[in-house]
Amino acid sequence: MDTGLLIEKLILAILLFVVSLGIAAYSTYFERKLAAWIQDRVGPDRAGPFGILQPIADGVKMFMKEDFTPTNADRWLFILGPGIAMFTALMTSAVIPWGTDITLFGRTIALQVADLNIGILFIFGIISIGVYGIMIGGWASNNKYSRFGAIRASSQMISYELAMGISAITIIMLSGGLGLNDIVKAQHGMNWNIFYQPVCFLVFFICALAETNRAPFDLPECESELIGGYHTEYSSMKLGLFLFAEYVAMFVSSALISILFFGGYNFPGMDNFSGNTLALLSVAAFFTKTFLMIFLFMWIRWTIPRFRFDQLMHLGWKVLIPISIINMLVTGIVIAFNEGWIKF
């Protein structure tokens, strides 16, 4: 085994971990500022200039709170729940390509922890087990509201995963590869998938909102009906992990959407640059796209009211799945014509 490769991947993984957590922490701050802006308020402004230290104050508060376990809770599963939620949220970022290759100390370093040839399937696998954190946590709390939250989360996940998977298949058909790097490279030169597949993008985006439990699909933690949903009984850093995992998941799914539809690290005029300049610019382009997606997620949360549960199921099964299947069939027929497999 190449030691240099091992060290390089280790540094990249740690960097990714820190960046994901940092962005998630500051997403909470920007979410509150944005909510304040939309609702014509001031928002957090006490900790530091413009309230910039607010996420750190929140984190310290979470650690200092009493760690409470309900009497009849299943002790081990109660601890396991938030752990799984956080673990799965962080795992997904391993296959995301953050930029073009960078050259440091005479080594060419790929800005991607693992270039799996089944990258997108890996992400779907991790997303599909992400619901276990909520389900185990909600069940182990031994509280009816928590359990309702857990049941809602599981049925919502299963319903929206189908439409999400089918719309991802459309993108795979266009790019001809399952690896995320292949998908990004296929979109080189402003051939972004959003221009070819706007319907697919809409379906995928709605499903991503539902999969990350963001409003208007935050029924598992719907305050007005279920108190706190699956995390009703949680306190201290266990609650913190649940809330934090949602923001990490939002960051990762924004990154995924910018890879699948907005060309990932590609940017207009990127052929004029080369080497490390190109690498840094591509990382900057990628993060700009990701942050714009996060902004869109937050904008929707503070604009659209929450769905009712039957409306949610209706939208998932009777609207999104048929649309994505028809879209996939049309795309397949167009590809077959272009390749000359069908002739009149």
């Binding site: 890996f122 696998g125 599909s128 276990y132 049941i151």
Partner: protein, 170 residues
Amino acid sequence: MSVELLSLIIGGLTIGAALMVVISKHPIRSVLFLVVTFFLISSLYILMNAQFLAIVNIIVYAGAIMVLFLFVLMLLNLNKESEPKTPKLALFSSVLASGILLLVLIAAFKDSLRLQHVRLPQQKQIGLVENLGKLLFDEYIVAFEVSSILFIASMVGAILLAKREKPIID
């Protein structure tokens, strides 16, 4: 660490987790151990360089089917008090039936021990998604399509069963 040792360890853990599915008293714990079993089986697939099979196993079994199992179990609200007592005769017959199944499985798989020295050509790449796709859509296309018809038939059946109950509710 050699692949043989690793697969031996994972194989042992798989059997342990599968036993815990049967031994655990609480149904939800059984389901969770079954999820662990699926993950261990997937890691065995990865050791055989069959990444696609491994991840599909996780998506379909751990991600979808087991979530549905958990969903149903949570709705059922199983308690120790409400559980009906199993009669002795049923217990005995189920042990007998699963014993016979074990015997049949051993008889079926004992020949596979002799097959292990048969090496397939380019075995390192055989589990990758391109090769699997070419094999499925070329050599085994008939079997593949027939199995998809089977799936559609079962889906239509499920929808038919769900629809039939509607007039009774109204």
